[in-house]
C-alpha cells in the first residue's frame, strides 16, 4: 500500500523522458534542493513551432519525478502555444491525482516547462501569448508552496 496511485508509481519507477539532451533549444529550471524539489526541463522545437522532444532531470520525491515524466509526455507533439496552456491541474489529472500534501510537486512541472519555453523564445527572438507576464525568476515563494525555511516540528520520522 503506497500513498500514491498506480499511475504515479509507474511513472516514478519507469519515468519517461528522463535524462540529458544535447544542445536543447530551450532549458528551464525550477525549484531548489533546499526546498526538496528541483526540476530541469529541456526541449527541442521544430521549425513549425512544435515541441518534438522533451527531457527532464529532477531532484525530488516520488511525485516530483512522476509529474516530470507525465508533464514531458504531455508537451511532446504539442505546439509551443499548446504546451504553454498546460496547467498544473492538467498534470495532476493526467497523474490521476496526488495526495493533497504533494500537490506542489506538479506546480513545479508547469513552471519548469514555461521556463524552458521562455528560454527558447529569448534565444530565438520569439514571442508567445502564453508567456505574457511570465517571469522565470519570479520569487518562488510567491507562487508555490513557499518552502519557508524555518525549521519547526516536522512529522513522521520525528514521531517514531
Amino acid at each position: 500500500m503506497s500513498m500514491y496511485n498506480d499511475k504515479v508509481i509507474e511513472h516514478f519507477s519507469n519515468p519517461h523522458n528522463a535524462g540529458d539532451m544535447e544542445n536543447p533549444d530551450g532549458e528551464g529550471v525550477y525549484g531548489s534542493p533546499v526546498c526538496g524539489d528541483m526540476m530541469k526541463i529541456m526541449i527541442r522545437v521544430s521549425e513549425d513551432d512544435v515541441i518534438t522532444d522533451a527531457k527532464f532531470k529532477t531532484f525530488g520525491c516520488g511525485s516530483a519525478i512522476a509529474s516530470s515524466s507525465v508533464a514531458t509526455d504531455m508537451v511532446i507533439g504539442k505546439t509551443v502555444e499548446e504546451a504553454l496552456a498546460v496547467t498544473n491541474q492538467n498534470v495532476l489529472d493526467e497523474l490521476g491525482g496526488l495526495p493533497a500534501i504533494k500537490i506542489h510537486c506538479s506546480v513545479l512541472a508547469d513552471h519548469a516547462i514555461k521556463s524552458a519555453i521562455f528560454d527558447y523564445a529569448q534565444k530565438h527572438g520569439k514571442t508567445y501569448k502564453g508567456l505574457e507576464g511570465f517571469d522565470p525568476n519570479a520569487d518562488e515563494q510567491d507562487d508555490h508552496h513557499g518552502c519557508d525555511m524555518e525549521i519547526h516540528l516536522p512529522e513522521k520520522l520525528s514521531d517514531l
Binding site: G36, T58, F59, C61, K102, H145, M149, E150, P154, K156
Partner: protein, 394 residues
C-alpha cells in the same frame, strides 16, 4: 504498493518492533480465559491483578527500579506528557522555567509548546554536530526558577546517547527534577535508574518487541508527581482507568526477555550495523553519516545520500520489500525537514536525502546484503535522473 518481490526486510526497528512469539503467548490467555478486571475481588480478577504485579516487577527489573515506582500508561507519549506537564503545573509556585533540548521527540516538544502557551518559559538546549548536549551549557541555563530538566536518553533519529548520569548530578545539585525519555534507550542500553539518579523516566513496550499502546513512567520514590488521570484506584490512584491487561502483561514479558538478551542484542546489532555501514561506505559514493558513531544506539544508522531525495529512495526500497524511514520534508505532513538533523547542522538539502536504517533482533546479514544491493541500484537510478550532481553541487 507494486511490490516486485516477496522478500521483506524490515529496517525500521526504531519506529516499532514485531511482538515476539513468547510475548504474544504470555498475553493470549488474558484476552479470553483470564480476562477478569484486576480490581475485582474474585479469583479471576485477582489473577489479573497478580499478572499486572508480575509485569510491574519485570519492567522495574529492567530499569533497576522498585515495582512501586513503575506506573503503566497508554504509551511513551503519555508518560512524557505526564512527567513534563504535571511537574510544571505542580512546581509552578517555585518557578516556571523548564530546560529541554532541541532534539526531543514531539511527545516532549509539543508538551513544552503547550506549556509555553500557558505562560511557562522553556529553554531548548542546542546539541553539537554529533548530537550531544554541552553539560556546561546546561549548568549555565539552570535558574532559580527552573523546576524541571527533561533530556532524552537516546535520540530516535540519530541514536545519540546523552550523558544521563552527569545531567542527573547537575539537576540534583540545583534541586531541580530530572526526567528522561528513555523510549529508544530501553532494551538497547543498560538502564539503572538508581545508579543514574534520575527522578522520572519514560518507556514504551512496542520498541522492545512488546505490544503497541502501552508504556510506563518511572517515578522515583519521594517524588510526589500529581495524578495524571483521575478516576478509580488503578496505578496507586495516579493513573486511573481499567488497566490494559494484555498490553501490560506483554510489556512485562518483553522487558524480561530484553533484560536477558540485552548484552547479546547490543553486540549483535552493533556488529551488523558496522558490517552494513562498511559496505555502504565502500560501495556508494557521496554519502554523509549523520551523528556520531560513538555513544549511539547500536542498531541506528542515519545516512544522507547526496544529490537525491529521501522519499524517492524510500519508495524504491519499499518496492523491493525494504522498510526504512527518511528525514526528508517530502515524507512529512508539514513539508518541513527533520528538526534533529537540522539541530546537528546537516544542510537542509542534505536532510532531504537522509535515510534512517534501524537494525533489530530479526535482522540478518543476508538482509543487509540484499539491502545494500537494492540501495545501490536505487541511489544510482535516482542520481542518473537528478538535476543535482556532484559536479553541479547543490
Amino acid at each position: 504498493m507494486t511490490t516486485e518481490t516477496e522478500r521483506q526486510v524490515y529496517l525500521d526497528y526504531s519506529a516499532t518492533t514485531p511482538v515476539k512469539e513468547e510475548v504474544l503467548a504470555e498475553m493470549l490467555p488474558y484476552f479470553t480465559s483470564s480476562f477478569g478486571n484486576p480490581s475485582s475481588l474474585y479469583t479471576v480478577g485477582q489473577k489479573s491483578k497478580n499478572a499486572i504485579s508480575r509485569a510491574r516487577e519485570q519492567v522495574a527489573a529492567l530499569i533497576g527500579a522498585e515495582p512501586t515506582e513503575v506506573f503503566f500508561t497508554s504509551s511513551g507519549t503519555e508518560a512524557d506528557n505526564w512527567a513534563v506537564i504535571e511537574t510544571a503545573m505542580w512546581k509552578r509556585g517555585k518557578g516556571r522555567h523548564i530546560i529541554t533540548t532541541a532534539i526531543e521527540h514531539h511527545a516532549l516538544l509539543h508538551s513544552c509548546e503547550y506549556l509555553e502557551k500557558e505562560g511557562f518559559d522553556v529553554t531548548y538546549l542546542h546539541v553539537d554536530k554529533d548530537g550531544f548536549i554541552d553539560l556546561d551549557e546546561l549548568k549555565k541555563q539552570v535558574r532559580d526558577d527552573t523546576t524541571l530538566i527533561s533530556i532524552m536518553f537516546a535520540n530516535n533519529e540519530i541514536g545519540s546517547i546523552q550523558p544521563v548520569a552527569e545531567i542527573a548530578e547537575i539537576a540534583k545539585a540545583r534541586g531541580v527534577l530530572f526526567h528522561t525519555d528513555a523510549v529508544q534507550a530501553l532494551g538497547n542500553v543498560p538502564i539503572d535508574v538508581k545508579a543514574l539518579g534520575v527522578d522520572m523516566l519514560s518507556v514504551s513496550a512496542h520498541k522492545i518487541y512488546g505490544p503497541k499502546g502501552v508504556g510506563a513512567l518511572y517515578i522515583r520514590k519521594g517524588v510526589n508527581l500529581p495524578t495524571h488521570i483521575h478516576g478509580g484506584g488503578q496505578e496507586s490512584k495516579k493513573r486511573a482507568g481499567t488497566e490494559n491487561l494484555t498490553g501490560i502483561v506483554g510489556f512485562g514479558k518483553a522487558a524480561e526477555l530484553s533484560g536477558q538478551n540485552l548484552e547479546h542484542h547490543a553486540k549483535t546489532l552493533l556488529s551488523l550495523r558496522t558490517y552494513f555501514l562498511e559496505r555502504v561506505q565502500a560501495e556508494i559514493p557521496d554519502i554523509r553519516i549523520n551523528g556520531s558513531l560513538e555513544n549511539r544506539l547500536p542498531g541506528n544508522l542515519n545516512i544522507t545520500f547526496k544529490y537525491i531525495e529521501g522519499e524517492a529512495i524510500l519508495l524504491l526500497l519499499d518496492m523491493n520489500g525494504i522498510a526504512v524511514s527518511t528525514g526528508s520534508a517530502c515524507s512529512s505532513a508539514s513539508l518541513t525537514p527533520s528538526h534533529v538533523l537540522d539541530a546537528i547542522g546537516v544542510p537542509v538539502e542534505e536532510i532531504h536525502g537522509s535515510i534512517r536504517f534501524t537494525i533489530g533482533d530479526f535482522t540478518t546479514k543476508d538482509d543487509l546484503d540484499y539491502t545494500v544491493e537494492k540501495l545501490k541500484a536505487a541511489v544510482e537510478k535516482l542520481r542518473k535522473i537528478s538535476s543535482v550532481s556532484k559536479d553541479s553541487g547543490f
